[in-house]
Symmetry: C3
Subunit: 203 residues, 3 copies
């Protein structure tokens, strides 16, 4: 049984896209751990995001020219979009550092980026076994667990910020950094939910 | 004519899900009216949200394993997701009280939560008559009217905040509380729009 | 080959909807250039938004009662919703001026509104040639290019705000104005992406 169009290129493109997610998230984590050469390295995240955009676009263009059933198409479209969204928010978090001149990001930001790395790796595994309809679900569960962890960490970090940060402009900056990182983990959960739906439908 | 898969369990699950919405919104309203034992009662909202998550998950899992037409599936998926979103924002509003240490929520917050209660009740009615294709549309209209009311109330409350609150950190807290409450009413409108679409398609 | 249901009313309704987008964006730009009679002119934007809501509702009601293929229906639904969203954010930006008592909007706000005008015109052109399957794609590309431009402009404006605005409450107001304007351009990009998908599928 085939979940995706016969054209194997689809799987290659999804592998490529998940690879960019992991690459972008790792670079963001490393920037947050040590923000030297900030501007140059944020440009590198941006370059990865552009490559992912092109891959997403290629998936959707290919999809729109393939003959497959409507509902599967919706799922493939949604999977590509949500994977792309993870990298959009990863990239947005990197840009916040430059725009808001955050030169000493708090350790919790790198911790959240680390969760995006782990989620991206789980998604890449999930996508890689999808063609053979392998053990996709355990990767989806792990992505959801990681999102829950990120949610708790960012909530606690924001509560602490309100307790300790007396400069409202600094508070706005850090609060938004945490929120954007948390949104990346939400989008990873969305992607995992689509993966799960694809598998359940084919069970 | 049947709008949803023959398996009646679907209707039970949707009734269950709408019931959690009402329960969560009522609890939030009561907390906002009198925030004693805040932490414990916010945990109760969280517990309701977890139960709703499980119900939503059960609907989607069941859906993915049923043989029904693609478009209806999309609608059912969207209805479950948007109902679940209402409770997510209800829960998020409750958590803001704890995280931001809001011990004296302004009366307008309880008023907004009251609109979520009314919307949840209308949605529960709409869902309950869907199986028999009853008078769903009047409930949808009422949900939309309530959203419009919430929109006006939260706009006025935020404008007043900018006029009167001189502490920017307090302003950030209350503004976000109003916005999260208003987002819950938006999601209820989304759910009503899906209900309306299901009914119109079957007319 | 027909992309949309035979009923030509659909094209008229989409032309009407895109017309409201352009009208609303032009009015917003003119308000931002010269905010005299602010309250009255914001009410006019609101009135345009209400008309667009009714048109969107008419498209979706008609869609739900037409016999067409499921996937096209999804696209039409999505196109109508995303066009409607552009005007929702245009209207939201106009309202921010009243609610936040912004009497001297910075020139960059009018510049962003100008990009929404250009995008709305491109979308109107794209929609107008859709029936004949004409050169839709170049209009989509231009909408995307304009979104990219708006993204850069709003990022720079927000960075400048953090550098220069020392009053946190003013910063919150202007930051949100820029963000809401930028969100309108995002929604225009969403609409262009749906248009592109419709064309590619029919190629």
């Amino acid at each position: 049984m085939r979940l995706l169009p016969r054209d194997e290129k689809f799987f290659e493109l999804f592998a490529e896209l998940s690879g960019y997610l992991t690459e972008g998230a790792k670079l963001l984590r490393s920037i947050l751990e040590d923000p030297r050469d900030l501007g140059m390295r944020v440009e590198q995240v941006q370059a990865i995001e552009h490559k992912a955009d092109r891959t997403t676009h290629a998936i959707i263009a290919k999809l729109n020219q393939s003959f497959i059933t409507p509902f599967d198409r919706e799922d493939i479209h949604r999977l590509a979009s949500s994977l792309d969204d993870v990298l959009d928010f990863t990239n947005a978090a990197a840009h916040r550092l430059v725009l808001y001149k955050i030169t000493q990001p708090p350790p919790v930001a790198a911790e959240l980026a680390g969760l995006i790395v782990l989620q991206s790796e789980e998604l890449a595994h999930g996508v890689s076994v999808l063609e053979k309809n392998g053990a996709v679900l355990k990767h989806c569960d792990e992505v959801n667990r990681l999102e829950d962890e990120a949610d708790h960490i960012s909530r606690r970090a924001i509560a602490l910020l309100f307790d300790t940060e007396k400069d409202p402009i600094q508070l706005i900056k850090f609060k938004e950094l945490y929120e954007v990182l948390e949104m990346a983990t939400d989008k990873a959960e969305d992607a995992a939910n689509v993966l799960e739906a694809i598998v359940l439908k084919s069970a």
